[in-house]
Structures are given as C-alpha cells and as structure tokens.
C-alpha cells in the first residue's frame, strides 16, 4: 500500500484494533459455552446427511430435533452419528434415519469408538471442501487477473431456471460476481428448503440444488468469457452455518456472512447467531470463500453521515471476529455504502472520505461497496447520475467489490436492461478513470482529511464504549443503527443449547487446528 493520503493516525488505528480484540474476546467467552440447533444440523450436513422426509422436513432437522428431545444435543450430534455408525448403521443415511426416529435416538447409547467410526465421513466432507477450493484456484489461475473493483450483479426472479438466464446475461455483459437474492423470509426459516425451487418472494430460495444449478450455469460460460464468474449467496439468518456448508460443497465463492445484520435488521437472537456465525466463518475460511459483512445496512435506516463512525467500529469488530474464525485478510469483505443524501453540500466529499478511510484502514480486505438505495427517488435519471458518482468514488478509492446500483432501485426488481445499464456504466467509469486513485491527493488539512479523521476518532470512542460493557450490552443499548436487541430476545433463542463438558464437533476441531493453507485469492 502507498502512503496514507488521509494521514490517519496509525496509533489510533492500532488502538481501535486492540479494542476490537477485547470485544471479540468477550463474545468468545460468552458464546463458547453453547452450541445451536443450526450448528449441529451443519455437522450432519458436512457428514453427508441431506434430503427431506415425506413432510418436506429436512433430515438434519429431524435428527437434531430427536436428539434434542432425548437430551443428547449437549454432547454434539457428531457423537451420536459416530455411535450409530459404530453400532451397525452401515451408511450415513442409515445412521441419520436412526437418529431421526425419536425412540431410536432416545435408545442410542454412546459408543467408545464413535470417533473412529465417524472419521472417514469427516474426512470425506473435508476433502470435498478442499477439492472445491483447489478447483476454484486452478480455474482462476488459468485466466488473466480480474479488473477491479469486481462488478457484482444481483438476480432475484424467484425461479431458479429464470435466474440462470438472467445470471448468464449479466455475466456476458460484464458482471464478475452473481448474487442470487434469497426469498425475503428465508433468513427467518429455521430450516433450509430442499431441491430446485421456482417460487420465491423478492428472491429465490437458497437450496443446495439451486446452488449447484447456478454454479453449473456460470461454469458453462467460463471458457466463452475467458474469466471465472464468482457465485454469491447469503449465509445469514437462522441457518447461517448450514448454508456455509452447502456453499462449500457447491463451490460458492462469496457469502454474505454477518451476525450483526441478522440481529439488528431481522431481530435474530444475538447469542444464537454469533455462535452460528463463528462456525459458518470457520467453514468459509476452509472453503476459501470471501465473506461480505453488512455494515452498509446501518446507513440505509439511519443517517449516513451520523452513522459513519458506527460503521467503522463495526468493521473493526467484524474483522477481529473473522480473523478469530480463521479467515485471512483477503477473505474479509467488509461492507460499507454510498448512502449520503445527494442534496447535502459536499456530500460527495464525505463519501470519498469514508471510502478512502476504509481502504486505508483495511488495506488488504476486499471491501464491499454498496450503492445508493435510501435516496433513490423513482427519478431514474437522477438515480443513474447518483450511481455514476458512486462508481467514480469506488474507482477513485480503490474499492474491491462493487455492487452495481440500479437506476430503478426501490421501483421494481431490476429489468434485464436495468442491469445492463448498470454494468456498462460501472465498466465505462472503471476504464475511463483507471488510474485516478494513483493520481489523487487530498488537501492536507482539507474537508476530506478532516472528515476521515473525525470518523476514526468517533469510531474509537464507540469501540471504547462497546469494549467496556461488551458487545451484548452494546446491542441492548442500541449502539448500532439505533436498534436495541437483548441477549435473550429475538428469534431462534430456543435453539441455543448449553454444551456439555464433553461436547465434540470434529469439523470445528479440524478447522481450528489445521487452518487452511494460503491459497489464491477468490
């Protein structure tokens, strides 16, 4: 990285990181006493348990429900899968069927050699994740480097087959990342739907089969395009780690993965989702997935100028939580957004200050920059102009992942040509202003520099406050996005389970003790 253009104090940045470490340690102390139903379902999925029963209930849910009913969950689902395998179940499916039966689960005794029986299945799951990671690395290495920022487009028809058409169209037009928006209510479902789906509201259900279909569609045009198209989905909500496992199995490349988002905007229980987040991030780390965090959302509900320090404070915390889960800098796509009121005098200068500050404070993170949404009015011409300023700021401050702004934001899900207009706009600006960042310097004591310094100082103050009482207390006080969330409130709290003294999760052990080798950047 070149010298700081903003002259931010490296001592102050280091102090923020140190405070974030205190916050993360506090979260760890609180969460490591528990597991969750989603985490245990994820263990089953990683072992190869899949499918639904006659009532469309996923088998991992069935098995975890009966283990919970039998009081066996505090030991960890893996122990019981291993025990079933050691006691006659010939396959993972047989073992899962045994656990899914309430009486079967209740009657199952722990077998002393459960680990030995389970080991080949653990290894098979890990091997599938490693294989996908090296496949991605091989594919990426076979093409020229990508132009940055990566252009990120969203498809959201509700029908996976229609999504495939739109995703290929967007990729051919120049999109480098394709995100399939989930059906609006999915984050609150405590199970993952199954199979290819054709009806969703405002998006398409994240299912393993939908992941597989979209991956195949993007791979099928890789050679034609001469580049690898990244696939993105949402590893958030009540099934956060399960979706991480599904993504790792189907070679997704990026995952939105942020507990704070679910806590604040979906009223998901903080304890539940922070526990789930840790396991999901472990999986993403091993899979070579780039995570995206959701700080941009603070700016959509509250004032973007006032919230800037909270965004930065949250980024420091998210960075630390991510690193503690084994993610490396190149995998931590911290989020922020271009959401300042365009009527505000010097609003663009504030945007540049905040974006440049994020770049300088997190030099190796693939920053995810989100487009204007709050101040999009239905005047599509003004919207297109706002998006141009956004794209220019993105290039000028060296952002990494650029979520394309749609001129029809807030009006309807994007038309095919809305997306095309967005891609060509951002691509043109990226080319036309290619080396602008190298040329730009800011007036040493000017508005941009002063603004960036003030945001950093205020972020430090917020971190001090959060560190003094802990993250859970800060959430209950409404420090982020003016929203208060209690540690024992919100959705999914009933799925938090105290760990027994001998709790075991062989995947967590593998991810923790054998961190993934450094690989090519995704």
């Amino acid at each position: 990285m070149t010298a700081s253009k903003l002259g931010l104090s490296s001592e102050r940045i280091a102090r923020c990181r140190s405070l974030a470490s205190e916050v993360a340690a506090g979260v760890r102390r609180e969460t490591e006493k528990y597991t969750t139903v989603a985490t245990e379902r994820t263990v089953l999925r990683l072992l190869g348990v899949d499918g639904v029963d006659a009532d469309e209930v996923p088998l991992p849910n069935r098995a975890v429900e009966s283990l919970a009913a039998a009081g066996k969950l505090p030991r960890g689902a893996a122990v019981w899968m291993g025990s079933a395998l050691a006691q006659g179940s010939g396959t993972v499916a047989d073992a899962a069927a045994r656990l899914s039966d309430r009486a079967g689960a209740a009657a199952l005794a722990e077998h002393p050699r459960w680990r030995d029986a389970l080991l080949p299945h653990v290894e098979r799951g890990l091997e599938r994740i490693r294989g996908n990671r090296s496949d991605r690395e091989r594919r990426m290495a076979s093409h020229p480097p990508d132009a940055l920022p990566l252009l990120y487009a969203i498809v959201a028809t509700g029908n996976i087959h229609e999504d495939l058409v739109q995703a290929q169209a967007a990729a051919r037009a120049g999109a480098q990342c394709i995100a399939v928006i989930r059906s609006t209510a999915q984050s609150l479902l405590d199970h993952v739907p199954y199979g290819a789906t054709t009806s969703g509201f405002g998006g398409t259900y994240a299912t393993q089969e939908n992941f597989r279909l979209m991956r195949a569609a993007l791979d099928s045009i890789e050679e034609e395009l001469g580049r690898y198209v990244r696939l993105v989905n949402y590893c958030s909500g009540l099934c956060m780690p399960e979706i991480a496992a599904m993504g790792a199995f189907e070679r997704l490349d990026m995952m939105l993965n942020d507990a704070l988002y679910g806590i604040i905007f979906r009223d998901i229980n903080p304890l539940r989702t922070l526990i789930d987040q840790n396991f999901s991030r472990r999986i993403n780390a091993a899979a070579g997935v780039v995570i995206n965090t959701g700080e941009d959302n603070y700016l959509t509900t509250a004032d973007a100028v006032e919230q800037a320090p909270a965004v930065l404070a949250s980024q420091f915390i998210n960075e630390r939580l991510a690193k503690d889960a084994g993610l490396e800098d190149w995998q931590i796509g911290l989020g922020h957004a271009f959401e300042i009121d365009p009527e505000l005098e010097d609003g663009l200068l504030h945007e540049i200050a905040q974006a440049e500050a994020a770049r300088e404070i997190f030099p190796d993170a693939p920053l995810k920059y989100m487009p204007p949404t709050k101040h999009m009015t239905g005047n599509v011409f003004r919207g297109y102009q706002q998006n141009a300023l956004f794209a220019l700021t993105s290039v000028a401050t060296g952002q990494s992942i650029h979520l394309l702004g749609m001129l029809t934001e807030a009006l309807h899900t994007p038309f095919l040509h809305d997306r095309w207009l967005a891609i060509t706009q951002a691509d043109t600006i990226r080319r036309n202003a290619r080396h602008l960042a190298d040329e730009l310097r800011f007036a040493p004591d000017g508005r941009i520099v002063r603004r960036a310094r003030a945001v950093l100082a205020d972020a430090e103050a917020i971190l001090e406050r959060v560190a003094s009482g802990g993250l859970f207390a800060a959430l209950s006080q409404g420090v982020f996005a003016d929203t208060r969330r209690a540690i024992d409130g919100g959705r999914g709290y009933e799925g938090v389970v105290g760990r027994g003294a001998a709790y075991a999760n062989p995947f967590m052990e593998a991810f923790t003790h054998a961190p993934a080798s450094a690989g090519a950047r995704a």
Partner: protein, 246 residues
Amino acid sequence: MKRTVRPYGDKKNDGAVQVSFTLPVAKSALATEAAKRYVSQMGIRDPYVTLAEPIAPDFTFFVVYGRATHEVDLSAISAEEAPAGALTRDEIDAEIARRFGRRLIVLGCALESDAHTVGLDAIFNMKGFAGDYGLERYHGFDARNLGAQVPVAEVARRIREAAADAVLVSATVTQNEIHVRHLTDLVDMLEAERLRDKVVLVAGGARVDHALAKELGYDAGFGPGTTASVVAAFLLEEISRRQGVA
C-alpha cells in the same frame, strides 16, 4: 369546456415521448423493425429508434422516440390530491395535547413476506428523513414500529392490545404485485375482527399513492418522498374526525 393535453416536447401538442424496453430477440434489422411496429401499435407516430443494443445473446434493448397521437381531456377526469400538512412538529404536538389530552398510539409495520423497512424507518425513526424528524420524536405520538414481516393476524392482535389509534403499513414492491395482496389481506382481517372502524389505516411505499390506497380500503396512501410531518398532520386531522374531537 374541453381541455385536452398531449405530451410537450419542444412545442405544444407535439406528443413527443420516449419509450425504452427490451425485446427477447437477437439484434437484427428484423428486431428493430419489430420494435418500431410495437411502438406504432402503442399509438406513437414516426417511431425513431435511437438505440438498439444487444444486451444478451437473444435480447435487444431499444430506446425509441416518437409522437403520441392520442390526447386526454382534463375536464373529463378527476383525481384526489394526497392530503398535505402545513403544521410543524411543535404545532402538531400542541394540537394533540389540546384536542386529546393524551398521546395518540400509532403502530407501523411491513406485512408478511415484506422484509423492507427503509420507508417505515424513514417515517418512524427519531432521525426521520430529509431533515424531517420521525414520529418517535413527537411527544404527541406513542409511535411503535413493529418492524418488517409482521403477519396480518399479529397486526390485528397488536391493534386490539394497544388500542391503537392508527396503523401505518409500509409496502415495498416485490414480484407479482404481492404488496397489493398483503395490503388487502390486512383490510379483510381488520373487518373480520371488527377493528377497521376503530383505527385510521394508512399505506405507504414506493408504488403506493392515495388513489390506490383508497381503492384498497385504506384512509390514505403516501408515495415516495413523503416526510413524517405530512403523515403526522394527516393522522391528527383524521383521528380527530373519526373520534369526533376538534
């Protein structure tokens, strides 16, 4: 007396319009001809295709200019203006105190599958929107933002429990006009529960307007750009009218 209008481009009654759309046809002379014919059938003369861009292998994006031939007689139609408030926050608070001697209870939510809260938050949050403070900042309102994805049955329950004076429903457009269905479902539910007459019901959202809201059985509808003070002034007057307070 008839007062007819047509679009105005650079002179009166020239009917100048611009249309943009995509045809699911590969770019070709045939596709362009199809675009012209299509626009002609919309009643637009002299279609002039200024852009025919292949945006995907089998899709072409068109921008077409032309002259609309039809006209509308303003004297033969009518439309209701959305209610607008001229009172400040302090004046509204003072009026509520004077007329009611209590805080008015206002619930806000987005319904069912609708997870969007931007519009709702703009009206409710302390900070408000465009420099206009949200309902939570008013002394006169006990503003309770229930958030997104609230089932209609839950809304009915909360109205009953809170003895709410008004409910604001934010509807964000998703696919298949589902926002309209949810808005209607709530009216049906409140009628079935005999609650409809007890509350002032207001809809808001990017594609909501006063006419649509009235049609769906709401007391008012507010479109994009609406600030909290406008909604607050409407609530004051409408709740006063309903409850016979002046």
